[in-house]
């Protein structure tokens, strides 16, 4: 009975609710699998998702476990600094909406690399964009898998390795059998479930202070032991430049995350792409107001034992707030509410990792294999088969890396790296390809490489890695390199462009098509 030396006791109730979620989402996958028989259905759900549905799915991709448990936990531990990444990730929607959403839908097919390949020399530009995608997705996916294992272990008492295998296996079933259609609906179901749970949690917490927001703030500050300092910045991102760098990484990196950009290909036209971004902004904004209340509420209400309960990184603040509100440990209400909020986190992890595998499979199968290696000679059916093989390969590698890294691996720097590469390698090339007439293939390649190499190098030299966490003698002082690597990405794009004399004549075509929607991919071509 006492075979496990760790404190992870098996909790029956969360496991039952997790099981219900698995049953529902696997049912959705079965339904979707019968509607997924072409490459366009696999990668873009037949382009038949409506704007509000896609808005919820995009919001679901944003509302990851890091955004829900991570941000509320950091607010619990450090106050305002924990909130900055969340706000930065939300405002990144303005560049996405104004610059990218409609144009991606009008000019692309399945992946963000399609956009670059459209006007630039297709094979090298596509390779560069695929490289950026694969790096971002790989770091992010492994980080999410490690977080998934650690969280499920803490919430349900299932051991880390088994939790990673369950998460990885389920994610692969969604993607391989149900493609983008299943991945989208799993994300929508989770988004509704998560938003509902967080709303109940936040309103209940506010009720404890008679719906007086100011009272919530003062009680949180008192409980923190930091006083008023808890309500301002400076307790987590100690160096001022770290605030700027982290803010930039999340504000521009989110706009270069391949699994989110990919969702704009699933709607019928550019107008729906625009509207889905609008819906997403609405849901994500509401979500971050609620997360603020949950973070401050957990500090105000958990009491002195809170610090020990929430664990390192504060990830368990939200579930334990639910337990306290429900009546405390051991009470039926407390156990049920804890299980429900844990299940919302579990559903979040499953839905987000599935989206990441979709994006990685797009980069490997559609970009690298079908267009760079096979040069577009394969039939649709062949592309679909390769997509499934690529998804399996990516998934198995991610599961293996997560288990090898183990639950104590510092995932914070992996996440920082993913956002930094997205902001520095993907975003500049994507932006310039639609806005700068002179931009060319050499510019795209040097831009992606500059952004990628600068991010990787500076992360290795930063306190998280060199020579160990929290070191004071790191060659690069900031925890996130974005403030240097984003300019490096743009400079790479400019230098490469200027040193190459290549002119391309397709810019006018891209311009006309991306602004008007002429010649855009039609919805459900196979339905006819």
């Amino acid at each position: 009975m006492t075979a496990l030396p760790v404190a992870a006791e098996v909790r029956a109730l969360p496991i039952v609710v997790f099981g219900v979620i698995l049953a529902i989402t696997l049912g959705v996958t079965y339904w979707a699998s019968r509607r997924t028989s072409s490459a366009s259905q696999f990668w873009a759900a037949g382009r038949g998702i409506t704007a509000p549905q896609n808005g919820l799915a995009i919001a679901g991709d944003y509302m990851s476990a890091a955004a829900f448990l991570g941000v509320s936990g950091l607010i619990f531990l450090y106050g305002f600094d924990g909130y900055i990444t969340g706000i930065a990730a939300l405002v990144s929607f303005i560049p996405v909406l104004l610059l990218l959403a409609e144009r991606l839908r009008n000019a692309g097919k399945y992946t963000m690399a399609d956009m670059l390949a459209y006007r630039l020399n297709s094979r090298p530009a596509r390779s560069a964009a695929a490289l950026g995608t694969i790096f971002v997705v790989a770091f992010y996916l492994v980080a999410q898998m490690i977080a998934a294992g650690a969280l499920i272990e803490a919430l349900a008492g299932i051991s880390f390795n088994i939790a990673v295998l369950i998460t990885g296996g389920t994610m692969l079933v969604y993607v391989i059998f149900g493609g983008m259609l299943a991945t989208t609906w799993v994300q929508i179901i989770k988004a509704v479930f998560l938003l509902t749970s967080v709303t109940v949690l936040a309103v209940w917490a506010l009720g404890k202070v008679s719906f007086n927001l100011s009272e919530l703030f003062s009680r949180a500050a008192d409980a923190s032991g930091q006083g008023d300092k808890y309500l301002g910045p400076g307790l987590f991102l100690i160096k001022p430049m770290d605030v700027v760098s982290t803010g930039l990484a999340f504000a521009l990196g989110t706009a270069g995350l391949p699994h989110i950009l990919m969702r704009f290909f699933t709607v019928p036209d550019a107008r729906a792409a625009r509207r889905s971004a609008g819906w997403a902004v609405l849901f994500i904004g509401v979500f971050y107001v609620l997360v603020m209340i949950v973070g401050l509420g957990s500090r105000a209400l958990l009491g002195p034992s809170g610090d020990k309960l929430v664990g390192e990184g504060g990830n368990l603040a939200a579930p334990y707030l639910a337990q306290t509100l429900g009546g405390g440990a051991g009470s039926a209400g407390g156990d049920i509410f804890f299980a429900i909020v844990s299940a919302a986190a579990f559903a979040t992890i499953l839905a987000v990792v599935a989206g990441l595998v979709m994006a990685a499979s797009g980069a490997v199968a559609h970009d690298v294999w079908a267009n760079v290696i096979r040069r577009g000679r394969d039939k649709e059916g062949e592309e679909l088969r390769v997509a499934r093989i690529a998804a399996s390969g990516v998934g198995v590698v991610a599961i293996a890396l997560a288990i090898l890294a183990g639950k104590d691996f510092n995932i914070q720097f992996l996440v920082g790296l993913a956002f930094s590469v997205a902001a520095s390698a993907n975003f500049p090339a994507l932006l310039l390809s639609i806005s700068w007439r002179r931009f060319n293939t050499a510019g795209a390649i040097t831009g992606v490489l500059f952004g990628l190499v600068t991010s990787l190098t500076l992360i290795v030299l930063s306190p998280a890695v060199w020579p160990g966490p929290d070191s004071h003698g790191s060659p690069f002082p900031l925890s996130n390199p974005a403030v240097v690597s984003i300019p490096a990405g743009f400079i790479g794009c400019f230098l490469g462009t200027l040193f190459s004399s290549a002119e391309d004549r397709v810019f006018d075509e891209l311009r006309v098509k991306s602004d008007t929607g002429l010649g855009a991919e039609e919805a459900s071509p196979s339905a006819a």
Partner: protein, 106 residues
Amino acid sequence: MAHEPDWAALEQTPEFRELGERRRRFVAVALTIFTVWFGGFLILAAYARDFMTKQPIGSISWAYILALSLIAMTWGIAYAYLRWSDSRLEPLAERARRTAEEAERG
């Protein structure tokens, strides 16, 4: 299959020029508001910590008030863009599309 239209000539048509010009103007204004507001927020959070910790409304600090104002700003810009593109941009895009289709027919 219609023959490939002359994209460079299309790009020069008054219909398309106006579409591009209008869009650029809206996007420039919106991105300026975004940059100043969000950039100002980051700089204050980084370098004006005492100010951000002050509490002008009950115990609610400037840091959170400005963060919530950024959520409102995001909603505002998104709403304005959606309204504007439905009422102004779509008719222009429709006109540019018709010009292009006429050109395509030759």
